[in-house]
């Protein structure tokens, strides 16, 4: 096997001295290997098809965090607190006091009553008998259902209804402050009491859409339906995951078109696409075999695997086309391409994989899964796109069109590359560096505003303008309610949860919290006791206090909502409603509770954090903030180390890593400016972006070094680098960007955020490698010394 070009400038990176063992192993046993690939693909593909969506929310939270440990430990005691849906039935023109509206509300109430999963005894609406008005009289209490007994839809009975509602204290709870909507409140069973199967959120959510929203909105233009609740949110999320299939299709199509435009060769287009799809099947199959499912995060990994596969495939196609243009037959061209690429390719992919594995430091299962899935995927790409791909190509070869394209295009392209090679010019490089420094300064400045956590109103998983969040906003605007709840668990000995001292302590903490910025209101047994004690004393507000008399306390909480006391009265929750779920709001509330607990926890009671969506978010934020710096350190450490091992030069490492660092900082600045917080979804972006982004640098630097060692000047060497690999690098950046850009349209907010940021990272890392790397090289590299050193060897 002779290659005049490579004989001259032998170098350990591009062309090992001996004909590589691997090359012989692979190319001398082509048929056997291909058959093995076929069977493996069939086997893993079969498993891949069986993989199940797994939207387990436990995996999205940091299970090791003490808050979550507490929450899960007391999960059974808190069960009925959060699982309900609220359906607001809105009348768009006029108010709720019409015969027509009340009739619709009655039908909806009945409809909800019969939905599977609804705890019928707890169902509440104006039409249920558990919604009552109460009045204190000389003889004691007097009351009745808010719907008058003799209700007939007449003006008089509607007026009576209005009076009853005003007396019932349901305004702001079941009835909107503006009397334009009322709520049907449906608590849900976690699992079907008759079958014991867990509630199918997707199916339940679909029922709500079909049987309630679609039906009644169609029936009457004047009726609007707004639905919120955990079950609905999960239902919408699962529905959102479905959109991924479309994105996959669009991504493959776009990539194929781009690839053809690039290679003008049908084989050079279809084979990388095919190899990359094989990689995806392998990855999914392997995940299935390892016992993983697909959650809303890891469902994105196949896109990455596909894009990475294509980008490495492009290098192979590019290299083969160049060799083929020199007149080599397909198998020789494939062997040469393999020989030239397997070390930088493997290095790039291994650094990707290590970059991903740094995500294992974050104690959130979905991120760990993401790390495993992505790491595995990249390992697979090494096999499929560095072995399978050249093997297939060695049979098919680049078409004549493709070869011609390389030859014709070469001349035209050269002018462009010539211009770009000035990035390495002594008078351009300082300007580039200056721009980089300015960019760095701007990045650091804007990055200061970077926040941890979710920043938008409503359910952070979904978009602000999603149907769910619009419904949520409607209900928050018209009712006294907050979607962000922090639950403090107050633990006592059995049967002691209603003791005076316990209620007093809760009451005091509530007042401290009420005085904490960002806390809207709070509820606990202490409030129930005060309100009922007042009611028992003829409704006189002067009695609004927790009685020291335990008998009175016991009487006052006899009819407390069941969620506020667990079965053996050893745990009672304190619900804190927050204005939003911004990190500082959560921090302020959580710190207050912690300070209080530390000072006051004793043998009688223990205040434990935390449950509720805000509790989970507070824990997640804490885990993420502490993991963030460690993750960055590791990912940069690993990437630098790999570059150092490969190129054995600190200067090389700086040339490659500095552009990445600049991109990372700019990415954080963009997050800060566009209001994206550091969260479970965006934390992996930097690791992924850096892990993958380093590929560009590795490809460019290895070529650059190669040409420098041939004795070329820096600019000349860089020109040759761009000629040989520039196109592939640009193309890689574009492919990777394309791979993730479709996520921006995902109905799931965090997927959109990830898509947007990764798109930026992938493209900008490419720009950084092409533009900034040569400028740094101008200042850092000493070509004469490198040459001398290489010769000495």
């Amino acid at each position: 096997m002779s290659n005049p070009k490579h004989d001259k400038g032998e170098h350990y990176i591009t062309t090992p001295k001996a004909e590589p063992f691997l090359e012989r192993l692979i190319f001398n046993n082509r048929a056997i290997i291909l058959i093995a690939f076929l069977f493996l693909t069939l086997f893993l593909g079969y498993n891949a098809i069986k993989i199940q969506p797994d939207a387990s929310f436990e995996r999205m939270i940091p299970l090791e965090h003490p808050y979550i440990v507490n929450m899960l430990e007391h999960r059974n005691d808190l069960e009925n607190l959060g699982n309900f849906v609220r359906i607001a039935v809105e009348v768009k023109e006029g108010d709720i006091f019409t015969k027509e509206y009340m009739e619709t509300l009655k039908q909806i109430t009945d409809e909800v009553f019969y939905l599977n999963g609804v705890d019928r005894s707890g169902l509440k609406s104006l039409w249920t008998s558990n919604v009552r008005w109460v009045e204190v009289t000389e003889q004691g209490f007097q009351g009745g259902t808010v719907i008058p007994d003799a209700y007939d839809g007449s003006r008089e009975s509607l007026e009576q209804l209005r009076q009853n509602i005003l007396r019932s204290s349901e305004v702001g709870r079941l009835v909107a402050d503006n009397f334009q909507s009322t709520i049907v409140y449906a608590p849900l069973y976690e699992s079907d009491p008759s079958t014991g199967k867990p509630l199918d959120y997707a199916a339940f959510s679909k029922q709500l859409e079909e049987k309630i929203r679609a039906k009644y909105e169609a029936q009457n233009d004047n009726i609007g339906i707004h639905i919120v609740g955990f079950a609905k949110k999960v239902g919408d999320l699962i529905e959102g995951i479905g959109a991924i299939a479309w994105f996959a299709g669009i991504t493959i199509l776009l990539t194929t078109i781009l690839l053809f435009w690039y290679s003008r060769c049908v084989a050079g287009t279809l084979v990388p696409v095919f190899s990359s799809i094989v990689a995806v099947f392998w990855q999914l199959g392997a995940l299935k075999l390892l016992g993983y499912g697909l959650d809303p995060y890891s469902v994105l990994v196949p896109f990455l695997v596909f894009a990475i596969g294509i980008s490495h495939g492009v290098q192979v196609v590019n290299a083969m086309a160049i060799e083929a243009a020199k007149g080599f037959d397909p198998i020789t061209a494939a062997r040469l391409a393999f020989r030239a690429l397997y070390i930088p390719g493997m290095l790039a992919l291994i650094s990707d994989a290590f970059g991903f594995l740094t995500l294992l430091f974050i104690e959130v299962d979905v991120i760990k899964d993401l790390a495993v899935a992505a790491g595995l995927g990249v390992a697979i790409v090494i096999v499929t796109n560095l072995v399978l791909h050249p093997l297939i190509m060695s049979y098919i070869g680049i078409t004549k069109g493709g070869v011609r394209h390389v030859q014709n295009h070469g001349e035209k392209q050269d002018r462009k590359w010539r211009v770009m090679s000035y990035f390495a010019h002594p008078s351009v490089a300082p300007i580039s560096l200056l721009i980089a420094v300015i960019g760095l300064g701007l990045g650091l400045y804007y990055k200061q505003g970077l926040k941890v956590g979710d920043l938008d109103q409503g359910a952070p998983e979904l978009r602000a303008d999603s149907r769910y969040n619009k419904d949520n906003a409607y209900i928050i605007d018209n009712y006294s309610t907050s979607a962000d709840v922090l639950v403090v668990m107050v633990k006592t000995a059995p049967e002691q949860c209603t003791q005076y001292n316990v209620l007093r302590a809760m009451d005091r903490l509530q007042w401290e919290l009420q005085n904490t910025p960002g806390v809207q209101s709070s509820v606990s047994l202490a409030d129930v006791s005060k309100v009922v004690t007042k009611a028992l004393n003829e409704g006189n507000w002067k009695w609004y206090e927790i009685s020291r008399n335990q008998t009175i306390i016991n009487a006052s909480i006899r009819s407390a909502p069941s969620g506020l006391i667990n079965t053996n009265c050893s745990l009672t929750p304190l619900l804190v409603f927050l204005e939003d779920h911004k990190a500082e709001t959560l921090d302020a509330a959580v710190e207050q509770v912690e300070a209080f607990a530390e000072e006051n926890n004793n043998d009688e009671y223990t205040f434990l954090l935390a449950a509720g969506n805000a509790g989970v978010e507070a824990a997640t934020n804490e885990v993420i903030s502490s993991a963030k710096n460690m993750m960055l350190m590791f990912v940069y450490g690993v990437v630098s180390l790999l570059c150092l091992i490969t190129f054995r030069s600190i200067r090389a490492v700086i040339c490659i890593v500095v552009p990445l660092g600049l991109t990372s900082i700019l990415c954080e600045a963009i997050m800060s400016v566009s209001g994206i917080g550091i969260k479970v979804a965006t934390l992996p972006v930097i690791a992924l972006g850096v892990g993958i982004g380093v590929d560009y640098g590795i490809y460019i630097y290895s070529k650059l070094e190669h040409y420098l060692l041939e004795g070329k000047t820096l600019q000349e060497a860089y020109f040759e680098t761009l000629r040989s690999t520039g196109k592939a690098v640009v193309f890689t950046g574009v492919t990777l960007g394309l791979g993730v850009v479709t996520w921006i349209f995902s109905p799931i907010k965090f997927q959109a955020d990830m898509g947007f940021l990764l798109f930026f990272m992938f493209l900008w890392n490419m720009v950084g490698a092409i533009w900034l790397l040569p400028a740094l090289a101008r200042f850092l590299l000493r070509p004469d010394r490198m040459l001398a050193k290489a010769r000495a060897k």
């Binding site: 009045e135 204190v136 009289t137 000389e138 005003l166 007396r167 305004v171 702001g172 709870r173 402050d177 018209n478 009712y479 006294s480 007093r504 302590a505 005091r508 007042w511 401290e512 009420q514 005085n515 904490t516 910025p517 960002g518 806390v519 809207q520 209101s521 003829e538 409704g539 006189n540 507000w541 002067k542 009695w543 609004y544 206090e545 009685s547 020291r548 008399n549 335990q550 204005e579 302020a588 710190e591 207050q592 912690e594 300070a595 209080f596 000072e599 006051n600």
Partner: protein
């Protein structure tokens, strides 16, 4: 409720701005009698039960030991220093500087600087001990009487004695639990002489500015121990106490002796005020019941009105208007000495406890969610 939340939100935002990056407050829980009221900017947005004027200053009491004062007719409020943190129920300022406030745990607080700082004068334990001592004394008296009494009176005396024993036992049982019963109202004539009244017929009198207190229950015909809810002086100088189950007590000798009046009503009265005319008064309570007496409580006439829900408090303006307020956001105004009332129901329907008519066209309303500045009818400004 939404308005309440909004107001709280604004409060929280203001607080947030003033406390930016504030460290969490560290508070150790102690008994409410030993734990000072937390310094807060929110007191004017939470339950306020009663109000008094100390010269030009308005001073209000509420939940969690809140005592706040305003020198600009209720527009802005400052929190006083209070060494306790239970719900306070009533306040009285006989002079511009000396004032008393009472509340749960039987607490009696005193201020000699127009409400800025407060000190405990008596708590429920001391009050209960005083009451128990009085009952024990009464028992001794009754037993002596019983011994020397003629046969035909013995049975009645024995009944009376049993009653006192029963009351005493209850008091002792309560004291075992702690200071369980609240004071419900306070009235001071001047910086020396005053009464505090409360649950289960508690009534104490001082003539030395609260340094010592005397149990006054023996002077009051209330053997069933009904709650005493309100005490007022009416024009002409008579003192009136109203309470549970239609109880009406009148004293024409500045509190030395009290006469129980025949009641026009069996439900509870929550307050009584003079109309501004000599010997005339209005008693009010549950379900919008208002009764007018023009003869020191001997005869009563029902005052028809639209309130429908409990009336908690009231005031007479300088120009003679009488304003009563109550649950359900009811604001009742009379311009004819209490014979008829016009009514307005506030949009938020939140309970009102009391009112200060600060000018001809402005009311300061206090209640369930703190202070509201309203026009003369009760509508929000």
């Amino acid at each position: 409720m939404a308005t309440r939340l909004t107001r709280k939100t604004i409060g929280a935002v203001c607080l947030g701005m003033s406390l930016l990056a504030a460290a969490p407050s560290v508070v150790a829980i102690g008994d409410v009698l030993e734990t000072p009221a937390r310094s807060t900017t929110l007191a004017a947005e939470y339950l306020l039960n009663d109000v008094a004027t100390a010269g030009e200053r308005i001073v209000a009491v509420g939940e969690r030991g809140h005592i706040i004062y305003s020198d600009d007719d209720g527009k802005s409020w400052t929190q006083g220093q209070v060494p306790v943190s239970m719900t306070l129920t009533a306040i009285s300022f006989p002079t511009a500087t000396h004032g008393w406030a009472v509340g749960h745990s039987g607490v009696v607080l005193h201020s000699s600087d127009a409400g800025e700082t407060w000190a405990v004068q008596m708590d429920g334990i001391e009050a209960a001990k005083l009451a128990i001592a009085a009952k024990e004394e009464r028992i001794t008296e009754l037993e002596e009487e019983l011994e020397s009494a003629p046969e035909d009176q013995q049975e009645d005396l024995q009944w009376a004695l049993d009653d006192v024993y029963f009351t005493l036992e209850n008091m002792e049982a309560d004291l075992d639990v702690g200071p369980v019963n609240p004071m419900l109202d306070v009235w001071f004539e001047n910086e020396n002489h005053g009464f505090v009244i409360g649950a289960y017929g508690m009534i104490f009198r001082t003539t030395d500015g609260g340094e010592t207190w005397k149990d006054w229950s023996d002077q009051v015909d209330n053997s069933t121990g009904y709650h005493l809810n309100g005490i007022s002086r009416i024009t002409g100088g008579a003192l009136v106490i109203v309470g549970e189950s239609g109880l009406i007590l009148v004293s024409t000798d500045n509190g030395d002796t009290w006469e129980k009046k025949e009641s026009p009503y069996t439900g509870s009265f929550f307050g009584v005020i003079g109309t501004g005319n000599v010997n005339e008064m209005l008693a009010f309570g549950l379900r919008g019941n208002i009764f007018l007496s023009t003869d020191l409580g001997t005869n009563w006439t029902t005052v028809p009105n639209e309130a429908g829900s409990t009336l908690n408090g009231g005031a007479v303006a300088k120009d003679g208007r009488i304003i009563l307020v109550g649950n359900g956001g009811a604001v009742l105004v009379s311009t004819d000495g209490g014979e008829t009332f016009g009514s307005y129901f506030r949009r938020d329907r939140e309970g009102l406890m009391t009112v200060v008519p600060v000018s001809q066209d402005r009311l300061v309303l206090l209640g369930e969610s703190g202070v509201a500045n309203a026009d003369a009818t009760g509508k929000n400004l």
